[in-house]
C-alpha cells in the first residue's frame, strides 16, 4: 500500500511540478498557473474537511443497540434458569 501511495503521489507530484514550474517557453496561460500553484494545499485542506465530515457523520450514525442489550439480559436470565434445572 505504501508503494501504491508513493507511486500515485510521485505521478501527481511530477505532473503538478511540470505544469506549475515550467520554464517560460512552455507555460500555460496565467490564470491556469495561478490556480495550479496552490492546488496541493487546497486538496489537502479539502481532504481534511472530508475526513472530519465523514468521521463526524459516522459518529453520529453509530447505532446504539439498546434492544440488543435488553434482549441479552433476558437471554442470560433464561439460560440461568434453564441451567439450574
Amino acid at each position: 500500500k505504501l508503494g501504491q501511495w508513493l507511486c500515485g503521489l510521485a505521478l501527481l507530484g511530477s505532473a503538478w511540478a511540470a505544469l506549475a514550474l515550467a520554464p517560460p517557453g512552455l507555460q500555460l496561460p496565467a490564470p491556469y498557473r495561478q490556480a495550479l500553484l496552490p492546488l496541493p494545499v487546497y486538496l489537502l485542506v479539502a481532504f481534511g474537511c472530508y475526513s472530519l465530515a465523514t468521521v463526524g457523520y459516522r459518529l453520529a450514525t453509530f447505532n446504539d443497540c439498546e434492544e440488543a442489550a435488553a434482549e441479552l439480559q433476558e437471554h442470560i436470565s433464561a439460560a440461568r434458569a434453564d441451567l439450574r434445572r
Binding site: K1, L2, V55, A68
Partner: protein, 207 residues
C-alpha cells in the same frame, strides 16, 4: 437450528472461575459438543486460535468473544451469508446495516470511528469493520492466514482481513450488535492507541 457444531473453549487460567463453569457445561451438554482445551497460563489470542484449530473437526470455524459481547444468535446469520455467496470469510461488522454497539460513550465511539477511517484510507481493505473479532472462517482459510499473520492485538484482526484480501479470499459481512462486556471491565488506553497506530503503519508499509 439443524447445523452440527462443537464448541471449543480455550481458557488460559482465568482467575474468575471460567474453567469450573466450563466443566459444568461439559457435563450438561456432553464432551462431544463442548471441548475444553485449557492452557496453563495466558499465552495470547493468536496462539489460542492455533491451539483451538488443532482440536477442531469441522469445516468452518467461528471465532468469537466469550464474554457475551458477541451474541451466538448471529451465528446462523453468518452461516446463511456464507452459503449465499460461498464466502471464505464472513465478518461481523458493527459499522454497517443495523450493526452497532451498546455501552460505549462518545469518546470510545469517536476513537473507533476515527481509527476505522484512517484504516480505510490507508489500507482500502474492502471490509467495513477490521478490528472486530466475531468472524466465520473456512477452516483451511483460517489455517493459511494464521501462518501468515505476525501482529498482535487489534492489529492482528486487521491483518487477517488484509492478508485475506491479498490472497484473494472472498469476504462477506453481517451486521452485528456488540454489547460491551456485561461482565468485567474494558480498557482502551493510550498504550493501545499507540500500538494500534504502529501496527497500522507496519501493515501499510508491508502489504
Amino acid at each position: 437450528s439443524g447445523n452440527s457444531f462443537e464448541i471449543i473453549i480455550i481458557d488460559d487460567g482465568s482467575p474468575d472461575g471460567t474453567q469450573e463453569i466450563a466443566e459444568q457445561l461439559e457435563k450438561i451438554y456432553g464432551s462431544d459438543k463442548i471441548l475444553l482445551r485449557p492452557r496453563a497460563r495466558k499465552l495470547g489470542l493468536g496462539t489460542a486460535y492455533i491451539h483451538g484449530m488443532k482440536h477442531a473437526t469441522g469445516n468452518f470455524i467461528v471465532i468469537m468473544d466469550a464474554d457475551l459481547s458477541h451474541h451466538p444468535k448471529f451465528i446462523p446469520e453468518f452461516i446463511r451469508k456464507q452459503k449465499e455467496g460461498n464466502f471464505d470469510i464472513v465478518s461481523g461488522t458493527r459499522y454497517k446495516g443495523n450493526g452497532g454497539v451498546y455501552g460505549w460513550d462518545l469518546k470510545r465511539k469517536l476513537i473507533s470511528r476515527g481509527a476505522n477511517f484512517i484504516t480505510q484510507v490507508l489500507l482500502r481493505p474492502g471490509a467495513s469493520d477490521l478490528t472486530g473479532s466475531f468472524r466465520l472462517y473456512r477452516k483451511e482459510v483460517l489455517q493459511k492466514l494464521m501462518e501468515k499473520c505476525v501482529s498482535k492485538g487489534y492489529v492482528f484482526q486487521m491483518e487477517m482481513i488484509v492478508r485475506a484480501r491479498q490472497l484473494g479470499y472472498t469476504i462477506g459481512e453481517v451486521p452485528i450488535s456488540f454489547v460491551d462486556r456485561v461482565y468485567g471491565e474494558s480498557k482502551l488506553g493510550g498504550n493501545e492507541i499507540v500500538s494500534f497506530l504502529k501496527g497500522l503503519l507496519t501493515l501499510f508499509a508491508t502489504t
